[in-house]
C-alpha cells in the first residue's frame, strides 16, 4: 500500500466508527407516547447534595414507520435514561434542563453466553426474537426518572435544574432512551463495536434489520406545575 493512502483510510475508518453523533430520529422507527403519571420522590437526607427524583410512568408505542421489517430481541426494552427540556428542539442541541442516565453494568454471567448461543442461528429464532413488520407497533410501559438536585451547581458535571426551577416553567418536554440490544451479549473486549450484533445483522438481512442502536423517543409533553 502506498503511504499516502493511509490518511484517507484513517478518515474512512473514522467516519465508520466515530462515536460523535446526535441522536436523530432512527430511520424507519419511531418511539412515541405519553406520560400517564408523575411522582416526586424526595430524598429525606436533609443534605445540600440531596435530590428529588421525578419518577414518570409512560405509555409508549414503538412503531415501524419504514418499509423493512425490524428484528428485536423478545425482551422488553430497557429504559435507561431521560432528559427534560424547555422546547422539543433543545434535545437535538443538547440544551437539556436536566438528564439522568442509569444503565446496566458489565456482566459476564452465563445467562448472556446462553442467549448468545441460542441466537446464533441462520435465521432469527422465534423464541428469542420478535419481528416488527412495516406499520406494526409494539406497546410498551416504562418507568423513568430524572434526578433533580436541590442545589444543581454543587454537582460535577453541573446538573442544570432543580425541581423548583421546573415548577416555574410553562411548558416542559421529556425525552427517554431505551436499549434493545444489551451490550452484555457482546463477547469481545471492545463491545461498543457490536461485532456479534453486526454479524447477526448481516446474516439475517434477508429477513429484516436487527436493531442494535439505542432508541430515543419523540419529545413527550410533561406537566409538573403545581395545581392552584
Amino acid at each position: 500500500m502506498h503511504y499516502y493512502c493511509l490518511p484517507l483510510l484513517a478518515i474512512g475508518l473514522n467516519l465508520q466508527f466515530s462515536p460523535t453523533a446526535r441522536p436523530t430520529r432512527p430511520k424507519g422507527l419511531c418511539l412515541r407516547g405519553k406520560v400517564i403519571s408523575v411522582e416526586i420522590i424526595s430524598d429525606s437526607a436533609g443534605s445540600r447534595y440531596s435530590s428529588n427524583c421525578l419518577e414518570m410512568k409512560l405509555l409508549l408505542q414503538l412503531v415501524n414507520t419504514g418499509p423493512t421489517p425490524i428484528i428485536f430481541l423478545k425482551r422488553e426494552p430497557l429504559f435507561v435514561g431521560a432528559a427534560l427540556a424547555k422546547q422539543p428542539h433543545d434535545f437535538e442541541t443538547g440544551n437539556h434542563l436536566v438528564r439522568t442516565y442509569v444503565g446496566p453494568a458489565v456482566n459476564f454471567s452465563p445467562e448472556w453466553s446462553a442467549l448468545r448461543v441460542s441466537l446464533d442461528r441462520p435465521t432469527p429464532p422465534p423464541e428469542q426474537t420478535r419481528i416488527l413488520m412495516p406499520s406494526e407497533s409494539w406497546s410498551l410501559r416504562a418507568t423513568v426518572g430524572v434526578s433533580l438536585p436541590d442545589n444543581p451547581e454543587l454537582f460535577l458535571p453541573a446538573r442544570g435544574a432543580s425541581l423548583k426551577d421546573l415548577k416555574e416553567l410553562s411548558s416542559l418536554w421529556l425525552r427517554v432512551v431505551c436499549e434493545v440490544w444489551p451490550w452484555n451479549l457482546e463477547p469481545s473486549a471492545d463491545r461498543s463495536k457490536l461485532k456479534y450484533g453486526r454479524k447477526l445483522q448481516r446474516r439475517w438481512k434477508d429477513v429484516g434489520v436487527l436493531w442494535l442502536d439505542e432508541i430515543y423517543s419523540e419529545p413527550l409533553t410533561l406537566n409538573v406545575k403545581e395545581k392552584p
Binding site: 440531596s50 435507561v80 435514561g81 431521560a82 437535538e92 442541541t93 442509569v102 453494568a105 434526578s147 454537582f155
Partner: protein
C-alpha cells in the same frame, strides 16, 4: 462547614488545579499532609472521569450517557484495587464481587466509618450485584457522596448514596455480598 475533601471535590474537574499548576496529588498532599497517596489517587480518578465526561458531552450534544470504555465495576475496582485490576479491560459486576471477597482483600465497614476510596455495592432483591461506587466525602450533614459511572454507556458522576435514581432504574439497595456485611467495603492495601 465544608471538609477538606469536599473543597477538593469542588476544585476537581473545573481546571482550578491545572490553572494553578498543581496536580491533584500536590493539592491533596498540601491539604492533608499525608504520606499515603490514597486521596490523591482517588481524586485523580475523579478528575479524570469528569474531564472525560465533559469531552464526551461536548462531542455528543444530544445524547445521554458517557464514554463507553468502562462501567461502575471497572471504575470502582480500579480505584480500590489498582494492582489487581492493572491491565484488565473489563471487570464486570461478578468480577467486582470476586475481588471484594478475595481472602483478605477488604473488610466490611459501617456507613458512618467510610473512608475515601471505600467501595459501596448495590444489589437487587436476589442480591445480584448491579452497581458499585467509591466513597469520596461526607458533607456537613453526614451524608456520604460517591463517585461512579452509571453503566457501560453511562456518565461519570457524583451523587449521594441515598439518591432515588438508583432504585428508580433497578440498581436496588446497598447490600453486602453476604448478609453479615453492610455493602460498604474498605480495601486492605
Amino acid at each position: 462547614m465544608r471538609s477538606g475533601l469536599e473543597i477538593l471535590f469542588h476544585n476537581t474537574g473545573r481546571g482550578f488545579l491545572t490553572a494553578s499548576g498543581m496536580t491533584v496529588r500536590d493539592a491533596t498532599m498540601g491539604i492533608f499532609n499525608r504520606g499515603r497517596c490514597d486521596v490523591g489517587r482517588v481524586f485523580s480518578a475523579v478528575e479524570s472521569g469528569f474531564t472525560e465526561q465533559n469531552k464526551w458531552e461536548t462531542r455528543n450534544p444530544g445524547r445521554f450517557g458517557g464514554p463507553t470504555h468502562s462501567d461502575c465495576s471497572g471504575v470502582a475496582t480500579r480505584i480500590a484495587f489498582p494492582r489487581e485490576t492493572f491491565g484488565r479491560l473489563q471487570v464486570g459486576v461478578r468480577g467486582a464481587d470476586d475481588l471484594i471477597s478475595s481472602e483478605g482483600a477488604t473488610k466490611s465497614v459501617a456507613e458512618n466509618a467510610l473512608r475515601i476510596g471505600d467501595i459501596v455495592r448495590w444489589a437487587d432483591n436476589n442480591n445480584t450485584p448491579k452497581h458499585f461506587a467509591n466513597f469520596i466525602f461526607r458533607d456537613d450533614s453526614g451524608k456520604p457522596l460517591v463517585f461512579s459511572k452509571s453503566g457501560e454507556r453511562g456518565p461519570y458522576e457524583a451523587a449521594t448514596t441515598s439518591d432515588s435514581r438508583w432504585s428508580a432504574y433497578g440498581y436496588g439497595k446497598i447490600r453486602g455480598i453476604n448478609s453479615a456485611q453492610t455493602g460498604y467495603y474498605r480495601p486492605r492495601n
